[in-house]
């Protein structure tokens, strides 16, 4: 009996390792290839050497990426757009959820139902009418002391940020979390003379760390990985995010080693973040499944 159990757990471990190998091999291959010249990548392909950083190893592919395209600019664009979307998203959505869950606002039930209704519309359905629509919106620009108004948001930073700040799912997550915080805290603060905004900022938000982590991750990942939307609304090179940048880079017919270097460059930061915040990452994905 005991032997049978040992055997089955050894079998389970073998299957685990097999799955892990399948999950990891393309990523290991990418990282390793990014360090090799093309000739060696193809030469190593038929052996285990394809997955080992051996032979003619250098960072040449990485320097080539920065020489050929403004990759640093693309990285800064993506970091900036994602960071602003995350910060504004946390603020706007938590504020809305605070009013909906902890205040006696007339008509809040209708508003909350309407917000939840937007969850059923997939972004792909909205994308094309949204392109047409943002192209009709006015654009204000302060030129010295005169305010200039032009039409159309295409090819700006704001078009990559503003439509993605408010998010029904983030509001829902915050709402659920706020419901679990005792309302007596608000009452105590009000007796001490605190206004609603002060209660939001100093009482409720400091207690909502896990919800904020979840919302931050679920806003950051799609912002960093976004491809369909910037493909349609961004033309200028200096406004491109990393995912559009890599596709453009690929079309320049550069060497595969350089493509792999660029791919590693935009993947490694997310992987490092993932390993550092593994628990929050996994919890946020688990809770994102609840929305279906």
């Amino acid at each position: 009996m005991k032997n049978a159990i040992r055997l089955s757990s050894a079998g389970a471990m073998a299957v685990r390792i097999l799955f892990a190998a399948v999950a990891a091999f393309p990523i290991v291959f990418m990282l390793v290839s990014s360090l090799k010249p093309d000739q060696q990548i193809f030469g190593d392909m038929s052996s285990v050497a394809a997955f080992l950083p051996i032979g003619n190893i250098s960072l040449d592919n990485y320097t080539a990426v920065f020489d050929r395209v403004p990759a640093a600019r693309f990285l800064i664009n993506s970091v900036g757009v994602s960071a602003v979307t995350v910060v504004l998203g946390i603020f706007v959505n938590s504020l809305c959820a605070f009013a909906l869950s902890r205040m006696q606002v007339r008509g809040k039930k209708v508003v909350f139902t309407a917000i939840l209704a937007t969850l059923i519309v997939p972004f792909q359905t909205l994308a094309l009418p949204l392109v047409w629509w943002v192209n009709q919106l006015p654009y204000f620009e302060l030129n010295g002391f005169s305010l200039e108004i032009s039409k159309g948001w295409l090819d700006t930073y704001q078009v990559q940020i503003i439509p993605f700040i408010a998010n029904a799912f983030s509001i829902y997550l915050y709402h659920q979390y706020f419901e679990s915080i005792p309302k007596e805290l608000d009452e105590a603060a009000r007796i001490d003379g605190a206004g609603w905004f002060k209660i939001y900022r100093q009482v409720v938000m400091p207690l909502a760390g896990p919800a904020t982590a979840t919302v931050a991750i679920l806003t950051f990942l799609p912002a960093w990985n976004s491809y369909l939307w910037p493909l349609m609304v961004v033309q200028s090179e200096e406004l491109r995010p990393v995912m559009i940048g890599i596709q453009y880079f690929f079309q320049l017919n550069v060497s595969w080693g350089e493509v792999m270097a660029y791919a590693s460059l935009i993947t490694v930061p997310v992987v490092v973040l993932f390993i550092a915040f593994q628990r929050s990452f996994i919890n946020s994905i688990a809770s994102s499944g609840v929305k279906g």
């Binding site: 389970a12 706007v92 605070f98 006696q104 359905t125 949204l130 609603w196 791919a263």
Partner: protein, 321 residues
């Protein structure tokens, strides 16, 4: 519930004659009530306005534009054309091909990916040394963006690429390699394989959340009754995952219908339309050919499909309750 009452003003609690209080409190209360309404709506407004402008309005616009001749940039005013776009859409062989392709994709991806994801979840559900290591590795493809994954696999799928080398190594040269993405017969299976590889970890986590909600006592009771591993799975785990099951199935199906990034990066719908999809067609007509109205019509058809699937799921889960 005490929360429906407004908090009593501080001075009201002070000892003394009660007589003057009623004349003060209603006014105070009204002021507090008004302030709560104003600040409440002020807090709701930013999110509500943004959702109105960037979700509700485009959704309604998309519905409306599908019945017009709107173009992204056009000097002509937008005109109502009735169901012309839909008539064109339903007689377009490329659209039917796209519908067939996403159905093929979904029919393979939904069962295979959900089974693999469940297997992965079961493998790491127990506590053992190194469980975090395996979780991290299984989850790694999920945090890698689909664009990067597509370029990476584009490289591996070459005729002289890694996939063919691995196939020939494990079969001792018996399996001849294919030119995966350039052959209409293998292009879609190739996209299916990488899609499953990338997203299985995501659904593994949802299964895992479901597994951990099943009470451990049920397993203890089953073990006392001498139930085998398979019986424990069949009579404890599987019924316990009822809600997770329908959730995973519906999210994978909707994601499968929305197939876009992989196709856009790897094949552009080719070869011979063998990998074109509904969303890819919508983007091609709406963005590359600037026909907003036709693209809106395609998007509307896609939305109806998504609604249908959600409705079917709702119906199936209600029946069992």
């Amino acid at each position: 519930m005490t929360t429906t009452q407004l908090p009593t003003p501080r001075h009201a609690a002070a000892p003394g004659p009660v007589a003057p209080v009623p004349s003060v409190t209603p006014r105070r209360r009204r002021a507090g009530y008004l302030r709560e309404q104003v600040s409440g709506w002020g807090m709701i407004a930013p999110a509500a306005v943004l959702l109105l402008a960037f979700v509700f309005l485009p959704a309604i616009l998309g519905f409306g534009l599908a019945f017009t001749n709107a173009r992204l940039i056009s000097p002509r005013p937008v005109e109502f054309v009735g169901t012309d776009n839909f008539a064109r859409l339903f007689t377009d062989p490329t659209f039917w091909r796209a519908l067939l392709n996403v159905s093929y994709f979904a029919v393979v991806v939904v069962p295979v990916q959900s089974c693999l994801a469940l297997a992965m979840a079961l493998l790491i559900n127990k506590k053992f040394r190194g469980v975090n290591f395996f979780r991290t590795i299984y989850f790694l493809p999920v945090v890698t963006s689909m664009v990067v994954v597509s370029l990476l696999w584009l490289f591996m799928y070459r005729k002289d690429g890694l996939i063919n080398e691995i196939l020939s190594a494990v079969s001792f040269g018996l399996i001849p390699g294919a030119d995966w993405l350039n052959d209409p017969a293998t292009a879609m299976p190739a996209i299916i394989a990488l899609s499953i590889w990338q997203a299985a970890g995501f659904h593994m986590i949802i299964w895992l959340a479901g597994l951990q909600s099943i009470s451990g006592e049920l397993y203890e009771a089953a073990q006392l009754d001498g139930a085998s591993r398979w019986h424990q799975f069949r009579y404890v785990t599987w019924p316990g995952l009822k809600h997770t099951r329908s959730l995973v199935l519906v999210t994978i199906t909707i994601q499968a219908l929305g197939l876009f990034d992989q196709v856009s990066v790897m094949t552009q719908g080719g070869p011979l339309d063998s990998t074109t999809t509904i969303i890819y067609e919508a983007v091609r007509s709406g963005f590359k050919q600037q026909e907003t109205s036709y693209a809106s019509a395609i998007s509307l058809v896609f939305f109806v499909l998504v609604l249908l699937i959600s409705a079917v799921q709702r119906y199936l889960t209600r029946e069992k309750d």
